[in-house]
Symmetry: C2
Subunit: 416 residues, 2 copies
């Protein structure tokens, strides 16, 4: 059996001039594509069209007929630019109805801010006849869902916060009821840091070739994801294959599943009751930022120092002037002294220190752009290494922090 | 005259299962849409299709016929999944040719890493007959450009780094030669922070209603962009309107044009030879990160303190224990003491301090999630204010930093 034959087919229609003009990068396509895929849909098209009745109507007809489910996102606002509902009604010849309950919700939202809604908002309560309203917990425009000629159409507002809330609170469950046979492939994800794509491929290509499991590689800077998937009936083989691939890729698999490297490091720190200090020069707070992005990080993130200048390294951390003069700010000696100073000037148990030349300028012949020295360690000892990255400033900074976190993870696992 | 009648029409075709499955958010559509729009194209469709010959061929035929220019991105790699060139050849019945020069470039790239390319890479040198090769300065897969039945097709590899380099180095100029009549609308951008969408609308709706200039609003958290555009013949009216709108929105317009708020603050600091210190609790280094994202920030970013714990606030900055005990870590008194300590423990001229409850937990009845105290000032005095944000952790952190930067900007402009 072709597994794909059991997948319901889905299309996504995104409405908005701002997306076509590149004024904002789209986030809705990836969100909805990911959600529908994980529910077992095969997402076959994402189409972006301008805020125009004709374009919306024409693509709606197209995608509606060729897919079991069409999700339309955007163009439900109150202004003259917002034409999605009108266009869908025209495309499928369905009359619109005023939905009193939705209007009352809009009135309430305005009332809670001490205002009454302008007349233009009334159009947000217009819904195709017979459609099921999907309430919007985050805004005024409700979504809706209906069946037409055997195919389903869901329509959601454009702001990610709003459509994600509607999806989570009602649409997802409704789709589960409507498409109970959706048959998601089982998937395992290995997340890898510190190998190139071809190094990953070399290590596991033999395993992949001999296996019935599907192997895919995804380079999502600075990490690589190996996605293993199989039909649900092959779940045991899938687990066995994931175990083998994991072993072949060690010590670079930092987790299986959805967690990011900062989250994995946070979890390890939390489990072992350790606190961390971030000492940063060229990464300028990015390391502290990535760690404190995580809710609850105050349990294990102690403090951070952004010692961008030489003065700061000396004055804040006590890095000896002689080290800075003899070896320079970008040196293994300075990185180790920064780490030592950071631990001495904090209550942390472990830490990392990063000093380097992120670019685009500031490089020298001896220490070109991309030279980064990274130290990790605890109060007793530290380990330092020099790297030569060759990306742009943004990527050099990001890979520097990931390298520090990955080495800190290995340090803790092997020595604490 | 309808200005749009003079615009050449463009479509964009994105190839990749990973985009449909939401495994990576697309960046190519926004990039190419923005570039083509700024060159005067009217971008009418962005379509994402799976890695399959049939889908790519079918949409290529469709978009090719209905647009003056079709840009196809992705699916030019060496693996079995990469089918774009084959699909285009099939769709338009054009034979493929082996392009020796491109193959030699691939061989050279491998040679520089001490390797020889595998046989599979040969297919990256296959190009539709008669197409013009667009060399890839960042990778092995060249792009190419050709005309077919009076319409143009450009094909580029999927990695943003590669297609952006090809676009910048050759495609952009070629398109300018091919479409010399492209007639971009003139545009002015006002970037606004600290007003809601409806507050922006209220201030300028009368101006907008009476003007021949097109007004559009773009909410790109945490800022709002007002985009004014007009036909090139109306450039004087456009400038005059932008000037009026700017005045009506003061002091919230932090710049006109493309610069972000951190860049604008950096520029002000640089011009006035001032250095800044970032003192952060709940934003955990995000402020330092956003400032040091900017190349050359070492000229005006002095150092940063991530004082996440009370211990850190006391020990690193000398925030008096009594203040922390009497008023709490999230208080205007603590924010001011953090700012004072940060300036005393640095060589900076100005600074900001942020302490708050970013969420999702950690709130109390008195100080709920979203309560943030922000101080800005110099060595002589500081100003502090309490905010109540109601977003999630990520947005609360981001808007806190932007608020600090915006207030720092106003502080410097008004008092230094």
């Amino acid at each position: 059996m072709q597994p794909s034959s059991s997948f319901p087919r889905a299309g996504i229609l995104l409405v908005g001039n701002e997306l076509l003009r590149g004024e904002i990068p789209d986030r809705n396509g990836a969100f909805m594509g990911g959600e529908l895929t994980s529910m077992g849909f095969q997402v076959e098209r994402i189409v972006t069209v301008p805020d125009g009745i004709e374009a919306i109507a024409c693509v709606t007809r197209d995608l509606h007929l060729s897919h079991d489910l069409l999700v339309v996102m955007g163009g439900l606002g109150p202004t003259g630019d917002d034409l999605t509902t009108e266009a869908i009604a025209q495309a499928l010849s369905i009359p619109l109805e005023f939905h009193e309950e939705s209007w009352q919700r809009i009135v309430m939202i305005y009332a809670s801010r001490g205002r009454t809604p302008p007349e233009v908002n009334r159009k947000q309560a217009l819904i195709p006849q017979g459609a099921e309203v999907l309430p919007n917990p985050q805004g005024t425009a409700p979504g809706y869902l209906f069946q037409h000629e055997g195919h389903w159409i869901a329509v959601l507002p454009g702001p990610p916060r709003e459509n994600q809330a509607i999806f989570g609170e009602s649409l997802k469950n409704r789709l589960r009821e409507i498409f109970p046979t959706a048959f998601p492939r089982r998937q395992r994800i290995l997340r890898i840091f510190g190998l190139t794509e071809s190094q990953v491929a070399e290590r596991i290509e033999e395993l992949a070739r001999k296996s019935s499991v599907e192997f895919r590689y995804l380079f999502r800077f600075p990490e690589i994801l190996v996605l293993l998937s199989a039909h649900p009936s092959e779940e045991k083989v899938l687990d066995e294959t994931a175990r083998k691939a994991h072993a072949l890729l060690e010590p670079h698999v930092y987790t299986e599943g959805e967690k990011t490297l900062p989250e994995v490091v946070g979890l390890i720190l939390k489990e072992r009751h350790l606190k961390v200090v971030a000492v940063e020069s060229c990464t300028g707070g990015l390391g502290a930022k990535l760690l404190t992005d995580i809710p609850g990080s105050s349990a294990w993130f102690e403090r951070g120092f952004v010692v961008y200048t030489n003065d700061a390294k000396e004055e804040v951390l006590g890095v000896p002037k002689e080290i800075l003069q003899e070896f320079g700010a970008v040196s293994e000696e300075t990185a180790l002294a920064m780490l030592k100073g950071g631990l001495e000037h904090s209550r942390a148990d472990v830490g990392f220190a990063i000093t380097g030349v992120a670019g685009p300028t500031g490089g020298t012949r001896e220490k070109p752009v991309g030279t980064v020295c990274i130290a990790v360690g605890d109060r007793k000892r530290g380990k330092v290494k020099t790297y030569h990255f060759s990306w742009d400033r943004e990527y050099n900074r990001l890979i520097s922090v990931w390298t520090a976190l990955h080495r800190l993870r290995l340090w803790i696992l092997s020595s604490m």
